[in-house]
């Protein structure tokens, strides 16, 4: 049963955070959140969530660096990282997957299929 699964959202934009949080909680996930990369890495190491939804444009430490660092710690390197990003320029997809993310979902997200899409990466 998926009821008990915990998802960590690392996202600095208040509205976008709430949007994803709302969708996940409606679908029975437990949501924890971080507003910057440093805090996100801490929470990932403490709570060991089932998956991490990672924004790329974050203050101080960007999503590429967060993904790369999560892959260096034994306790977090097995957690799937799904980048949720509005970067749509050439080469962004390769860069994101190259830095260690498992999946890539482009913003704007589709609320009807979003949860289904991220479940694939669990």
């Amino acid at each position: 049963m998926i009821m008990s699964e915990t998802v960590l959202i690392i996202e600095d934009n208040e509205q976008n955070f709430y949007l994803i949080e709302f969708l996940l909680e409606k679908n029975g996930f437990t949501v924890i959140g971080a507003r910057n990369g440093r805090e996100g890495i801490q929470m990932a190491r403490t709570h060991k969530p089932s998956a991490i939804l990672l924004d790329i444009q974050l203050p101080e430490m960007d999503g590429y660096a967060v993904a790369a660092e999560l892959k260096t710690h034994d306790e977090t390197k097995g957690i799937p990282i799904i980048a949720v990003t509005s970067y749509a320029m050439m080469g962004d997809r390769e860069r994101i997957l190259g830095s260690g993310a498992t999946g890539y979902i482009e913003k704007p997200i589709n609320p009807e299929t979003f949860v289904e899409e991220i479940r694939r990466y669990f």
Partner: protein, 597 residues
């Protein structure tokens, strides 16, 4: 009467759009995939089987096309310089980095012997120009360079340039750089690009050209300069070590290649392209392993002293030879001066005029580059608020926050439809700006043309059925494999079909495909409203539909047909239109069966 693409209308086509996600289909013409196609094109990882088959074809291609050269133990000489993690010499003296991993993998498969020639960036470029080396890694393709070097077509990497400054320096935006001293790599694309960017914003900055990246960061760390420009790969890896941080100033997206000497056979460049395409489509390939390895791991390196000595020696030799040729030229000029004086006066006038023209031209180009960088950044910034608009309206329409009354449902649907139209506009504008900045590249692969056409027809079928239109498909028996950019061609065909359905109220839409010499010809005809003769010339111009006053009835971005025309022209093809007002229109595209055909 004009016809344009309605990315938005496409989204309302019912079952297909909904099933695969409405917001995806909204991004249709921007190359972020449309509806059903999007699901397939985006997820390489889940489609290993077809790609494997395709990989085998690609691996065989070089062997077939080069029966003599393929197993000849060809020696390939490559310039190495310090630009970690893309290309550099490791502590143990071994050439390393992403470009090395990739070329060594290709060399191993092709049986090439690789020789590395270390030096600085500028030495490498000079050696390549003198044909002393065959390849130079991590070089952007510019018009000036294309005259001296050869380039393959499939970019190895894409990168942006970023400005770095000391921690706490308060440099946050481009305007904060006013009056600052900024280090930049000498003879690089970013040197020129930044100067133009700064000029475009009326900033006065002091650009300090520096021969290598390491020196750039050291100068800023020591306070000899205020900011540094490097590529993002290098900056992300090295800035923290020098006590520097990234600013929000990111500019000039660049595609990076191996530059080849003019003596390099073009088949070898094709081999590079084939391997790159192959590696990029396989998430487990050397390409992605290398990106993972170098982007996530720290690597330390030093520039050996002998390279600096060598740079001095080469520099002195170069200077002496330049001085020698200048002296010789002066002697020759002195003897012929009198005879040529009158001629020269005339020539001088021509030269002046040409220089003025060239300067005006360059100014226009610079303005264009600023415009496309601006558009690219804007399209990114606009997506963030759109995410919450489209997201929350979707949630409310799904009834997740409680049921809506019919009026609320109607109004929320209008918000949703307008937001999707805005997204389609952003995507189309991004496409146009990419095309105009020359950054749209085609990814050429062989594919089944008939299947592609059928796929596009399936996507417009729901709307056609709703309007009571017949769609007739007529594909000749000899239509088989096409070799071009599949996704972009499907985008064009879907665009034409969408227009035909959109502008036809009764009757039918016919799509036919046949072979003509060495070209494919795809025609889309309708029995719709047609186009007045005086508008036929302008239907392919951007935003044309908007000034016709018909936007209410025929909603669309007004960019679709101009994008179609640019894409087909990039494929070496043509797009044509014939129309009779009130009777219908026929749009026809013709493009080569193979890129070289």
């Amino acid at each position: 009467m004009d016809r344009c693409i309605g990315s938005v209308d496409r989204n309302r086509t019912g079952p297909v759009g909904r099933k695969h996600g409405d917001h995806e289909s909204a991004g249709a013409s921007a190359g972020r995939g449309y509806s059903a196609a999007a699901g397939i094109l985006r997820n390489h990882g889940r489609l290993l089987l077809p790609f494997w088959g395709f990989s085998i074809v690609l691996l065989l291609l070089p062997a077939l096309s080069l029966p003599l050269a393929s197993a000849d133990n060809r020696a390939v000489t490559i310039g190495v310089y310090e630009n970690a993690p893309k290309i550099f010499t490791s502590e143990s003296g071994k050439p390393s980095g992403i470009f090395v991993d990739i070329i060594e993998h290709i060399a191993e498969t092709e049986g090439w012997r690789l020789h590395y020639v270390p030096g600085t960036w500028t030495e490498g470029l000079d050696r390549l120009a003198r044909r002393e080396i065959d390849l130079m890694p991590d070089v952007a393709n510019t018009a000036a360079r294309a005259e001296i070097y050869s380039f393959h077509r499939e970019p190895v990497l894409s990168s942006w340039f970023q400005v770095y400054a000391r921690r706490g320096s308060e440099i946050r935006s481009l305007l904060d750089l006013s009056g600052k001293r900024i280090c930049v790599l000498n003879r690089s694309v970013q040197q020129e690009a930044f100067a133009q960017l700064a000029a475009g914003f009326g900033l006065s900055t002091t650009l300090i050209p520096v021969p290598d990246y390491k020196a750039i960061f050291e100068m800023v760390a020591r306070g000899e300069a205020d900011a540094a420009i490097t590529n993002r790969f290098y900056g992300v890896m090295h800035a923290p070590k020098h006590g520097l941080e990234d600013t929000r100033v990111i500019f000039h997206p660049t595609q990076l290649f191996f530059a080849a000497s003019r003596s390099m056979p073009t088949q070898l460049l094709d081999i590079l392209d084939n391997h790159l395409l192959n590696m990029k489509s396989d998430p487990g390939s050397v390409y992605y392993m290398s990106l993972k390895r170098w982007i996530s791991e720290e690597a330390r390196f030093k520039l050996p002293v002998w390279i600096q000595t060598l740079a001095w020696v080469v520099g002195v030799v170069l200077l002496m030879s330049i001085a020698g040729s200048v002296i010789l030229k002066r002697q020759v000029n002195a003897r012929t001066r009198e005879l040529k004086r009158i001629n020269q006066e005339m020539e001088q006038r021509v030269i002046d005029r040409t220089a003025e023209l060239a300067a005006a031209m360059e100014k226009a180009r610079a303005a264009d580059r600023i415009k496309s960088a601006f558009l690219a950044t804007m399209s990114h910034e606009l997506r963030t608020p759109l995410n919450s608009i489209i997201g929350f309206t979707g949630i409310m329409l799904q009834g997740l926050t409680g049921s809506l009354n019919p009026e609320q449902h109607k109004q929320m649907s209008m918000v949703q439809s307008s937001a999707r139209h805005l997204l389609a506009l952003i995507n189309d504008v991004l496409d146009i700006s990419k095309i105009e900045a020359g950054q749209l590249t085609l990814s050429i692969t062989p594919f089944d043309l008939k299947a592609s056409i059928e796929k596009a027809v399936m996507l417009v079928l729901p709307l056609a059925e709703k309007k009571g239109l017949d769609i007739r498909l007529n594909i000749a028996d000899d239509v088989a494999t096409a070799t071009t950019d599949q996704r972009r061609l499907e985008q064009v065909i879907l665009n034409l079909l969408n227009n035909a359905v959109k502008f036809t109220e009764r009757g039918e839409v016919d799509i036919s495909c046949r072979m003509e010499d060495n070209r494919y010809c795809v025609s889309v005809s309708d029995t719709g409203i047609g186009i007045e003769a005086e508008h036929l010339q302008t239907v392919f111009q951007p935003f044309h539909q908007i000034d016709t006053g018909l936007t209410r009835k025929y909603e669309g971005t007004g960019l679709g047909l101009s994008i179609c025309k640019k894409i087909i022209e990039m494929m070496g093809g043509v797009i044509e239109v014939e129309s009779r007002p009130g009777r219908g229109s026929t749009f026809t595209i013709r493009f080569p069966i193979h890129p070289g055909a």
